[in-house]
Symmetry: C2
Subunit: 413 residues, 2 copies
């Protein structure tokens, strides 16, 4: 096998070139889905891949597929992809790194005159972030049959603008039926958005799946009262109950092993006044685990703790499940290719489970799929301070290239 080596400087340049589309203060990027900035980066994508000899297909929800023919067009294409949209105060790497690494792989192959057995495709999935049009990972979800296209088209932003109108406006409603596109495998390179790789001094995360997650809204209601005039024994303090619940959620994570995470991210107190005993608290609970059975036990413990705490303090309680996302396990043969690819490149690597959701989590339902993570400084993302080094980008793209080539070779073994 040839020694194919990524040109990290060229990849780095394309990262900075595309960061102009929606550039915002502090070095970040504000490129919400289906805006003028999104159109500009999509146009750039088309121009760039067409210059590399690819053909671009766009499906009915705006997902884009740049096709590079292989030696055997009877083989299903191997896809490399992620998303080009960002959060309102996003960074230069989240999403687009996985697309640009795909383009860099095409350039490396072109330079070497290398033709894969299967066709290669570089994919941009529409509206991964879900900030402008909720929910997140909308159009990889449509591709995977999780949502019907009508559902995506009818989503509206805060100004009441429909997804389909926004898609038409920028000229990216294609004719191909979503999900009608053949894919034999999908590889997604992404920044970790967490601190594990950095903490363990690894450059490559070999991602074995995506955690299952359950989200809840909780409301606890007691009685307000004057903080000076209401004796402790006559109080029904909703914040005291909420505080016990926050700590119970912590304990539930600790009780279910190092892979469990559980969080209260949002808490709103009423009336939230210095000298009034809190009468009502609303809060969000987020439970995650890579194993669905364990996650179900965590959810059971949480519901039991909520009941116990509310009863103990005489609080009313409402529990509303808002999201239930089963765990995803990526394709073992592709995971092994990524691991071997990192090894081949001499990179420190470890297996991990993605804590965040990704397009790959939906695509895995319909196509063998896996992911590669590279570190981001301090685990920070969705922030203009998001930072990944040139060497880390090189490492991710090289691992991806090694994995794709090895997988492609395996198709004709």
């Amino acid at each position: 096998m040839q020694n194919l080596t990524i040109n990290a400087g060229r990849l780095w340049d394309s990262i900075h070139e595309t960061a102009r589309f929606g550039a915002c203060d502090g070095g970040g990027v504000d490129r919400l889905t289906l805006t003028d900035e999104d159109k500009r980066v999509r146009d750039w994508f088309c121009d760039t891949v067409e210059a590399l000899g690819c053909t671009v297909t766009v499906d009915e929800v705006g997902n884009m597929f740049a096709h590079r023919p292989g030696k055997r067009d009877d083989l299903d294409p191997i896809a490399i992809g992620s998303h080009l949209d960002t959060q309102p105060t996003g960074g230069k790497f989240d999403g687009i790194l996985g697309v640009l690494a795909g383009i860099e792989i095409l350039r490396t192959l072109d330079e070497a005159g290398y033709i894969t057995n299967a066709p290669l495709e570089i994919v941009n999935w529409t509206n991964e972030e879900g900030t402008r049009f909720s929910p997140a990972m909308l159009c990889s979800g449509v591709f995977a049959g999780v949502f019907p296209p009508d559902y995506a088209w009818s989503r509206t932003d805060r100004d009441g603008i429909r997804f389909d109108d926004a898609l038409d406006r920028i000229g990216y409603r294609g004719t191909e039926k979503a999900g009608g596109h053949r894919l034999g495998a999908m590889f997604e390179l992404h920044i970790e958005q967490g601190p594990i790789l950095e903490a363990e001094n690894c450059t490559i995360g070999v991602v074995t799946g995506v955690q299952g997650a359950r989200w809840y809204d909780v409301r606890l209601a007691g009685s307000t009262g004057h903080t000076g005039a209401t004796p402790m024994r006559l109080r029904r303090d909703a914040l005291v109950g909420a505080s016990e619940l926050v700590l119970a959620v912590q304990r539930i994570a600790q009780d279910h092993g190092p892979e469990a995470v559980a969080s209260v991210g949002r808490i709103d107190v009423a009336p939230n006044s210095r000298n009034v005993v809190p009468g009502e608290v609303s809060l969000s609970v987020d439970l995650r685990h890579p194993d669905d059975a364990t996650l179900a036990r965590m959810a059971e413990s949480f519901e039991a703790e909520l009941g116990r705490i509310a009863d103990h303090h005489g609080l009313e309680r409402d529990l509303t499940p808002v999201w239930d996302s089963p765990a995803v396990r990526f394709a073992p043969e592709l995971i092994a290719r990524v691991e071997a690819g990192a090894e081949q490149a001499g990179l420190r690597h470890r297996r991990l489970v993605s804590g965040a959701g990704h397009d790959a989590a939906y695509i895995a339902r319909v196509t063998p799929t896996t992911m590669v993570f590279v570190p981001c400084l301090g685990g920070v993302s969705h922030n203009v301070a998001e930072s990944t080094t040139l060497d880390e980008c090189r490492a991710g793209a090289q691992t991806l290239l090694n994995a794709v080539i090895a997988h492609d070779n395996s198709l004709i073994d």
Copy 2:
């Protein structure tokens, strides 16, 4: 001694007559200090007490004194007073009940042709609520020498209007020096603003003092992170620390006996997002106890707990003391008069310490002072739903009358 009996219907009528000044939806009153509505109730007060033969004096910060001569003008006047201002969504009883009960006492004495030994004075203290011009109890504070008059005059409301300009505008800046007014004693009747009397089925609270209070602002800062991608062991979750602090504050109250109260009323989380580990929490802490030494020990425990919790979770902490109000003990001889007065009226009573601040707490620094409490439904105040019955108003005014007459008689024993 004559059998002097309050006319509860007449008192009730005056409560409803004055509730027109600033009447708001739901049966409440919005009568912020030094507004047109405050001028209207002050004018009503002047007209009413002058019709009863009183002379009104106004001091330089707008405190009003209605003087009814006694048999012996060498004796210092006995004052009965409270405040006529309300919260923006106040009730019909908070403050004004203590002034109107004084007027009802004058009417009862007039009908009986009863002349006290010492002069009687009915007092309206300016700006007890502190909502428009902070701090609360501003002008009883000036009277007691806690604040200089310049301090009061220079306070500004949210629109930048100065206190002295507002006072001039409604024509209630008097010429008498604040604190220059002779007073021999002060009795303040007020609604409890807490649930103790109702819970113990008592009609009269014999108030022995006002709790000491210490208020703090606390800021805890950790690190934000993705709730899915940040393992528990790598978190510095500010809300977890804050929740432990809320529970520590509870325990501190429980550890210092039934009279201790301690509360976290306000909590603000940043970024307060469902899928972000909380990076920063600001919260308020309110510690109160009738005994200053005990309160100091509570404050010590609180500071130690804050340090321990912040260190344990690796959180930065800022602690800002915002208020330190020493405990007040009312005059024992006046407390005994109130107790005897309730007994004489055949009313269930109990001693208690005020949890809330009152004008009487400042006046007690310069004049023998005490208070009488009557229940309010569910302990609710600062709310349009504030409710006290005709019988409870009767009980409070009768107890006050009995106590004042007994005290007056004691002056010439």
